[in-house]
């Protein structure tokens, strides 16, 4: 049976789409490079490619204990402050939190031999030292996001006295839950061959792996939909900012990637144990500080079960979970996330000053 479509209607649809495509390209060209990072901040510390920022408070008397945001090494922390009305950072500031952020930068060939120990016991440890001395506190609040959450868990387990409260957002803990598609792809990989051949692991390769989880929607359909958005300047701007963020994928320091992929994706060491940094075992039962675990119920990269596994592994007497009804990215940028997530985190921190 032939499709019951009128050829004339199909032709009009085709010409209409081509016209929207043409307008879309013109508008993208006119829009120029998107500007990300909306909230005023100061550079406090630089070290190799890393930059530590402190955001300008938006209330007169913010909470005395500062909050350090540690984002993933993959992708850029601009996701936390994409634009004024989509900003985890701004939401936290407005809720009275003193917000600091680590930008890990873009590893170069000179960073190829950086290890997880360098990131956790070096960079992160020194950044926390900066916060402690600047704010005159013994311990800080730490918020780790995705892979940055794993680094934060490792840090807090090694230096519990320096972390007053730990917040993890969309953070994988059990990498071997059956619904973890990314782990499914990484487990058969020869990580040594990858790192020994590439040195630093190309960000484009990792980004393609993320897109490959939903290729029809993320690599194809999205752009056909974009043609429909081109009449809406604000929607187009939002799209371009997000698009810029998605493809702004730093290369990964080779040795750190090797350790991370093997220890967590392949060997699931946060659950099975046996992972050590600086010669000291990383044991989640040493997490005795208050813990807030925020996960997304529709997360296609970090399934909820992978995050919720923390509940059975920590050693804290004060553990809270927040389930956000959305996805891995929506938890930062959706309108509902702005209303729900930063106020909830800030309220939880305020109850534990």
């Amino acid at each position: 049976m032939t499709l019951a479509l009128d050829p004339q209607a199909v032709l009009d649809e085709l010409a209409g789409f081509a016209a929207r495509l043409e307008r879309g390209v013109e508008r993208i060209a006119a829009a120029g490079a998107p500007v990300l990072g909306a909230t005023p901040r100061e550079t406090v510390h630089r070290e190799d490619g890393l930059t530590l920022y402190r955001y300008r408070p938006r209330v007169e008397r913010p909470l005395a204990t500062p909050l350090l945001l540690a984002y993933a090494l993959v992708n850029r922390p601009t996701m936390t402050d994409l634009q004024p009305d989509r900003s985890l950072v701004r939401g936290l500031l407005e809720a009275g939190i003193d917000v600091w952020l680590i930008d890990w930068g873009y590893p170069t060939d000179a960073d190829r031999f950086l290890t997880l120990e360098d990131y956790v016991c070096g960079y992160l440890h020194r950044c926390i030292g900066r916060l402690r001395s600047a704010c005159g506190v013994e311990a800080v609040n730490l918020l780790g996001i995705c892979q940055g959450g794993v680094l934060s868990l490792c840090y807090a387990a090694l230096y519990p006295e320096r972390v007053r409260n730990l917040v993890t957002m969309v953070t994988p803990v059990d990498f071997h839950t059956p619904d973890n598609a990314l782990t499914h792809l990484v487990r058969p990989l020869d990580v040594d061959l990858l790192v020994d051949t590439c040195g630093n692991v190309p960000g484009s390769l990792l980004n393609a792996s993320f897109l490959a989880l939903n290729p029809y929607r993320l690599a194809m359909h999205k752009y056909v939909q974009l043609a429909e958005l081109t009449g809406d300047a604000a929607a187009l701007d939002n799209f371009l900012r997000m698009e810029h963020w998605i493809f702004d994928s730093p290369d990964q320091a080779g040795e750190a990637f090797r350790e991370f992929a093997k220890a967590f994706f392949q060997q699931n060491r946060l659950v099975t144990g046996g992972f050590a940094l600086a010669g000291r075992p990383v044991e989640l039962r040493r997490l005795t500080m208050p813990l807030l675990n925020v996960y997304a119920t529709q997360d296609h990269l970090v399934p909820p079960a992978a995050s919720k596994a923390l509940a059975g592994l920590h050693g804290s007497g004060d553990y809270t979970e927040i389930a956000f009804a959305g996805g891995h990215i929506g938890i930062y940028v959706s309108g509902r996330a702005q209303r729900e997530v930063p106020p909830a985190i800030a309220a939880w921190l305020r109850e534990r000053p």
Partner: protein, 290 residues
């Protein structure tokens, strides 16, 4: 491309549909492709146009088939439904390195380089004509390159076959679905294709075969890249340039030196903390550690 061009094409297609022209006019897709080649390299534009072009190609082909009165298998067979192979495999296209390297060179140098990479006459010249002596390891690598290349071709074929099998199942489902619930537009047909394909692909992705085929493709691409690196390193050595091993050594030493520097800085900080009244040492402020 301009609105005028689109309108002209629209008019030409209308005339063809009305039987006023014998042959179908040049497609919108061909115009878009030519336009894409002339645009500045803005990635967002390129992706929009690339996928937009695929949708347009589908719509044009639907139109041609409807106009020809094709039915059943004749309508569905070979319908150009977009597939994700290129977006998925593009980052694994290192084996196409020779073509990309040749593109970087001015026209006068392209042929000698292409010769080096295709059949190795320049490598032979380096070995004999320049008086640098034969390099057995380099020759072995050139020979092994063929085996690595074939392994990569096999792996890519296996990966393509898996995707194609999933695509064929999605195609059959699309036909069944579209015949039971006819879409009201090409866009509606496309949306169904995306939804069904994503579902099929997700099932494929979570099975064991896909992960194995994906790993095999990545490993084959890496081994091929590694072989190229060895060949490039050997040639660099002949020309007195550092190769990958030399750079690795330098980077490893740099890393060790940085670690020692950090340890010294931490020790200085600890001493300062013990003697707060002491005169601060001269040197870089700590904010600028590098």
């Amino acid at each position: 491309m301009s609105p005028d061009v689109i309108e002209q094409q629209h008019a030409a297609w209308r005339a063809w549909l009305a039987g006023e022209a014998a042959a179908a006019p040049e497609g919108f897709a061909a115009t878009l492709r030519a336009w894409r080649a002339r645009l500045p390299p803005v990635p967002e534009m390129a992706r929009l146009l690339r996928q937009g072009e695929d949708f347009v190609r589908l719509a044009e082909e639907v139109l041609r088939r409807l106009h020809a009165g094709l039915d059943g298998d004749a309508f569905w067979q070979g319908l150009p439904l977009p597939d994700p192979f290129e977006p998925l495999a593009a980052p694994l296209a290192w084996p196409r390195l020779p073509e990309r390297m040749a593109e970087l060179l001015p026209p006068g140098l392209r042929e000698p380089l292409a010769g080096l990479l295709a059949g190795s006459p320049l490598a032979a010249e380096l070995g004999e004509g320049f008086g640098l002596g034969r390099v057995a390891a380099l020759q072995d690598d050139w020979l092994a390159l063929g085996g690595d290349w074939n392994a990569w071709l096999d792996a890519e074929r296996g990966y393509r076959e898996l995707l194609a099998a999933a695509g064929a199942r999605a195609r059959a489902e699309l036909r069944t679905h579209a015949e039971a619930h006819p879409p009201t537009s090409v866009r509606a047909l496309y949306e169904r294709w995306i939804a069904l394909s994503e579902r099929r692909y997700d099932a494929l992705l979570r099975g064991g075969d896909y992960a194995e085929a994906h790993a095999r493709l990545l490993h084959a691409a890496l081994r091929l890249r590694r072989r190229w690196q060895r060949i490039a390193g050997s040639v660099a050595g002949l020309l007195g340039q550092p190769n990958r091993a030399a750079l690795d050594t330098a980077e490893r030493r740099l890393h060790a030196t940085r670690q020692r520097l950090r340890a010294l800085e931490d020790a200085v900080d600890a001493l300062r903390a013990l003697e707060p009244a002491a005169t601060p040492p001269r040197g870089k402020p700590q904010e600028q550690r590098r």
